[in-house]
């Protein structure tokens, strides 16, 4: 039976420049991409914060139209979190131009009572103290996935360690995995991370796919080959959202379920890159996702076509 997925993380207004163009203050944030991607598969419950007066209603409508439960989307006085960045021409790196925490600076996640029994939880990339607060507010026995970033590895190591000890699945970029562990190869980094708590770890390599390291083995999900990339912002979060949404929809978290989920995540992540912001993520149909998953399966199949 399909389960609910509780998502916590940032909802933001992003200003983005890539070789394909420029957009100002479009809908973004880790929790936004996770929720939109997961909403294709299961009921999503969002815990996040936005500014009282500066967050466009059309964004709220877009999330609501996808069936996302917004009871945990808090509106408080102040400005919505804003991020601005520019991508290198080959998308191999990006530079943050501006970060304005706004209402995020004093955010304390409030988990509605109706969310406390969610069986699946995705802790998007936010301060690990806030990730801990969410875990403290829900019942036990759930499957917890988390993401993190350089900032928290460098500045909030203890809290990050505490979250990791309560995490089933960590998703992390390769560079962040190296920073977190001091290792230089992903297989070694994964071994070190699993010793820190997470039973499974997915190391994301952007256009080069993602590796799952699990007690039952190692799995590699290739990225879907795109002919044009427009904006990769949120691709990693869409990947996590597709994966977690799929796990929740099947209510299975074994190795085989994680593998399948990664292909669904990769399919949605590829769509995210095809337009600015959430434009494609919000519109991709289940049929398009399934077609991309089939294509990803064929990509590594040895069977004669």
């Amino acid at each position: 039976m399909s389960q609910n997925l509780l998502v916590v993380g940032s909802v933001a207004l992003d200003s983005i420049e890539t070789r394909a163009g420029k957009r100002d203050e479009i809908l973004g944030g880790a929790a936004t991409f996770i929720s939109l991607a997961a909403s294709r598969f299961c009921q999503v419950q969002l815990v996040a914060v936005i500014g009282e007066n500066d967050f466009p209603d059309e964004h709220v409508r877009l999330l609501a139209a996808r069936g996302i439960d917004l009871a945990g989307l808090e509106r408080v006085p102040g400005r919505t979190f804003r991020w601005a960045g520019v991508y290198a021409n080959d998308f191999s790196s990006r530079k943050t131009l501006d970060t304005q925490l706004g209402v995020f600076a004093s955010f304390r996640p409030k988990v509605p009572a109706a969310y406390a029994s969610s069986k699946y939880i995705m802790l998007g990339n936010i301060n690990p103290e806030l990730q801990l607060a969410v875990l403290d507010a829900v019942q036990g026995g759930h499957f917890v996935a988390m993401d993190t970033m350089n900032l928290w590895i460098e500045t909030a190591r203890d809290a990050l360690g505490a979250v990791m000890r309560r995490t089933d699945l960590l998703t992390i970029n390769d560079e962040e995995a190296f920073l977190l562990t001091g290792e230089r190869q992903i297989a070694r980094a994964a071994i070190a991370i699993r010793k820190m708590g997470p039973k499974a770890v997915i190391i994301k390599r952007g256009e080069h796919g993602a590796f799952l390291f699990h007690e039952d083995g190692v799995f590699f999900a290739p990225a879907y080959l795109l002919e044009e990339v427009v904006d990769p912002t949120g691709a990693g979060d869409s990947f996590a959202g597709g994966l977690l949404g799929h796990l929740a929809s099947e209510d299975r978290t074994d190795f085989a379920a994680l593998k399948r989920g990664m292909l669904f995540g990769a399919a949605i992540a590829s769509a995210t890159c095809e337009a600015f912001g959430v434009e494609r993520t919000a519109k991709i149909t289940r049929e398009e996702i399934d077609a991309r998953v089939a294509s990803l399966r064929a990509l590594t199949s040895l069977d004669p076509t």
Copy 2:
């Protein structure tokens, strides 16, 4: 029935520095790696040139011990081709410190009469004029694979085009594929390359695996995950050697055979990276190769373990 593979390319003395250490004037060269890798699968016939007095006998003995036919290994007055380079700490790039063409500057490949009927030909990365000379010296009806590099794309475009029109399979790095085509994404680059002649193209991405673009579909072969890289020199050539050797051993060149061959190539390429020069490439056993191929198949399999 297993067929012969004719290999042409450089036999060199390499001086290499990586984070793992430093070696001076060790056995290297594209044709060396291709031949050693392919020799695990089929009879290899080598066409190359070395200096009359400066090429250590032990290297000749090593090639002969692997059953490689050295009738086409010419010895001429002068110095053997030498290359020196240093790798970045994360192996993402390398810098050439020195190139001494030596006897390679005036090399004209001489194909022994006994090689002219070889059904498989691998044109290692050398001046395309020399690749053409080899094609002119052999009978038709064979399967031709070729590699190339930035230098020839920039300085010998016409000759390169002429070789490509007579090629069945081009293997090329992603950066070189972009330079050759002016494209920035590998799917587009592959389409452009196939219009230049090759019926199939393999775009190599180092530790990120390799894509095959073929009229029957697209296939991705992941790279074998190593816990430590010592020296990636020759990995791409070992990949091509393992692939071509496997094709020759099966005497099949259809899409499914190319897919299988890529996994064998990836298995040997990974071994090449585990030690300096040809140390591991020359020693890896068929059992070790088969174990790595099985591991590569499992890496992308959705079957429950």
